[in-house]
Symmetry: C2
Subunit: 282 residues, 2 copies
Amino acid sequence: MKTIPKIKTLRTELDTLRARGKSIGFVPTMGALHEGHLSLIRRCRKENDITVISIFVNPTQFGPGEDYKSYPRPQEKDLSLAREEDVDIVFVPTVKEMYPQPHRTSIDIKEITGQLCGKTRPGHFEGVATVVAKLFNIVSPQTAYFGQKDYQQTLVVRQLVKDLNLPLKIAVCPIIREKDGLAMSSRNKHLSPKHRREAAVLYQSLKSAKQKILTGERNVKKIIDFIRSTIKNKSSGEIDYVSCVNAADLKPLRKIEGKVLIAVAVGFGKARLIDNILVQTK
Amino acid sequence: MKTIPKIKTLRTELDTLRARGKSIGFVPTMGALHEGHLSLIRRCRKENDITVISIFVNPTQFGPGEDYKSYPRPQEKDLSLAREEDVDIVFVPTVKEMYPQPHRTSIDIKEITGQLCGKTRPGHFEGVATVVAKLFNIVSPQTAYFGQKDYQQTLVVRQLVKDLNLPLKIAVCPIIREKDGLAMSSRNKHLSPKHRREAAVLYQSLKSAKQKILTGERNVKKIIDFIRSTIKNKSSGEIDYVSCVNAADLKPLRKIEGKVLIAVAVGFGKARLIDNILVQTK
């Protein structure tokens, strides 16, 4: 496994591999790798000759007061996990390598970034879209892999690729969960034992809401109220949002129909957790 | 020469050429080709195996009330000029091909787009940056060629390429002028005979201003006033701006030093003409 901090070195390496006809798959990460990331890496390995992952905690997608500084960076452990998964190349740029000054360009995706996480985190998806475009242009993979846990992010990335005619495919992989249903997240390690126990309520409430829809509930407000009261009753979490929207464009629903996304964001102490579930109605 | 309207067809064609080891050069245009464009095409031909040009009047870089509808589109003549220059591929997408709906992505370049043409034409450079990124991702050239007449645009495109790590080189070619010094432009054909005669004053005033700097003038206001009064005295043009700025970042200068850009935009009837000159001081 090669660990490469420089863009130029990485490109030379990848150009050589491409010239030898190797297909390249890419898993962009912010490190603090967990089973969710590993599932992306495994799928990438299965579908490509060469697996590249990036580990880069991207400052531009954190807002003021967010957890950029405290975001976990267990680099040694990450590299050893990557090695165990037979990753071929780990790209570990510095902030200066990714954003040499003056850096003046940013990518804005309209309509699908103003709600859910985009509402609470203004500028977040602009930071995501910009760094993802940069990484795609640096790695030039055939396919890039993302987790469905960041559902809105997957929509943003798909839109970016389509609108900027980026020559690659996006693969979205299922959410990987702990035994009690909590979605794997690098931020889970910030949870106190009490919050960790309580946090299971997110997925429990989503699953029950899905069940209600599948057995006929079509009232959006009832679904949202049900999830809100479940979370409030079973945890001390602070709800950021509970949303039930069109899964394709995140637009509000008058009634539940088509493909529906139910998404939640809840704060537990310093950790802000997100989760979601898709429901296909007929 | 192949004329290709579809992105997919173009990509397949270019992939085949690339696989055969051909280098690809690219000249993006809005058509209405003149000697300025032809000089870019000739340089591209000299430096690459394959020359691709695009002809696309990009709606997103025109503001409301600008000349998107009346912009000249002499397609047959353009294709015949391209054929004479031995262009290999002309990409002629429709608006729908370039902007399938919903199109939600735009690229913003800060700091160097708020002045000069960016001030008069809000949103213009966002449209330029976005369509150029799209075209670069569609064509994937080794080098793309731009004219220095659109000086601010060349800065924007260079910044875009650097910041988004686009894997190509930008080549900027000199302004091509009519005998009387008027910079070639597709918009010149909108000039009345009287305005056409008067329009030569743009370059005359720029050249004289450069001479003043080279012989010692260091006062920015004096240079600007000189150009303004020259244009006013010798033409009926309506001055949009006369600017004398740092050529690297378009920032205002307190005094003339370093590499300086003098740029003008003047309206003659319906035609808004731009021109510029670079001055290197010691």
